[in-house]
Amino acid sequence: VAGDLFVFSVFFTVFVHERGRDPAGYGAARDHLNLGIGTFDTLALLIGSILVVFGVDAVRRGLAGPAGRLFAAAMSYGLLFAAAKVTEWVLLARNGHTPRTQDFYMYYFVLTGIHLAHLTVATGMLALARRIAARRVIAARDVQVIESIGIFWHLVDLLWMVLFALLYLMR
């Protein structure tokens, strides 16, 4: 988690620094992003996060069935996020906005791509959490593994909070 925070801190700093060199160009490029999709993505991750909180709590209370369903629901929000993100990439590319056309889009595609890779891992880990929660007996060690998976999911959520602000909202 600390490593990811450090790497993304560098990304955030470089992006804002570079943006300062061409605020008008970055602002104009930003206007071609789909704010509706960005906001949808944000809400999808937040809903996924609260479902993970409920799921971890259910595991701690030994409620395997509800925990599994909550993790599955959170996974579906992860998949919705991914589908929306890929849709936005395709729409941008169709309109001629690619990493080669403007520095803003280079940062946009790289940063959202790295973030989506993290989200894919987090969603896969939730599938593991679901399998662990389905065991007849959940050991204390299993609870710790599921708690760690939850923390990684929330890290992905947290990183998106900043990316959303820097890429979609900064004026």
Binding site: L5, S9, F12, T13, V16, H17, R19, G20, L35, T39, T42, L43, L46, S49, I50, V52, V53, F54, D57, G150, I151, H154, L155, D157, L158, M161, V162, F164, A165, L166, Y168, L169, M170, R171
Partner: protein
């Protein structure tokens, strides 16, 4: 449910702050610079809420909580300073 109630309030707060941020990003909040400072500060305020509530940092050792908060405040300050410079 009682144990997760604070997280539900955190979720509601995060949705509200997101809505305010989108409003600022769409031209609300007066000047462009003031709105952007508000957007960055709001983003890291959300980061702190996610950390303290969803990641359960409120149950973690003090050094970890202070370290995380220092990172969030430091990043927000750095990005705002870069933006305004």
């Amino acid at each position: 449910m009682t144990r997760t109630r604070p997280a539900v309030w955190a979720f509601v707060l995060l949705v509200v702050v997101t809505a305010v941020s989108v409003w600022l990003g769409q031209g609300g909040g007066g000047s462009r610079r003031a709105a952007t400072v508000g957007i960055v500060v709001a983003a890291f305020a959300k980061v702190l809420v996610v950390g303290e509530s969803f990641m359960e940092l409120h149950l973690a050792p003090l050094w970890l909580r202070v370290g995380f908060a220092t990172w969030a405040v430091g990043m927000a300050t750095t990005l705002v300073a870069l933006y305004l410079s």
